[in-house]
Amino acid sequence: MPVVVQQAAFDPGQVVSDFMATASGVGAIVTFCGVVRGDAGLTAMDIEHYPGMTERAIAAMIEKATRRWNLTGAHVIHRYGRLEVGEPIMMVATASTHRAAAFEAAEFLMDYLKSRAPFWKKETGSDGESWVAAKDDDEAALNRW
């Protein structure tokens, strides 16, 4: 199951092990893991999402990446709900025969997840709560694909 959207915490090492077990015989595996950063006084993060659309949107991204880079495997796990500083938020894993393809596909998936998967982050810090604003850089990053 290449798309997992869940509230529960996950273990990145276990995700890597499980992914590699399914991607056997493949030359290159790239993973990305995003973690809640504790800078600027942030104490927690709440992630809202759009059940149903989230899974569909991510599955479509994976399908696109798989075709374009001829991937032999791809996996996305993304949490929602409340996360504490230091907790893994999400992870992307790609497998291909060649390293350039695995790297590019992972970056493509990250760029799309940032701006085209229906997640919204709210940060809780020393000065209360606030919705994270989308970054121009993240939108611009889509132009390279």
């Binding site: 085209r116 998967a117 604003a133």
Partner: protein, 82 residues
Amino acid sequence: MITVLYFAWVRERIGLPREDVETSAVTVADLVAELSAREDRYAVAFSDIAALRVAVDQSLTTFDAPLAGVREVAFFPPMTGG
């Protein structure tokens, strides 16, 4: 009847996550105009359309998208996943 969903600060400003709406709106923009005319909280949430994104039946689209046969419309700010 269309199910309308609100996420993030759109949800907070309107004060509810979803509602069923009887409408004869032809496009998403028509629906936004109808909702905005209802009450101030809608008018405020929809005051800057450029700051919003819309999905129709769980696919991202634009505000001129037609609503014929549509079951679900969702309004939300730009996404911040990853």
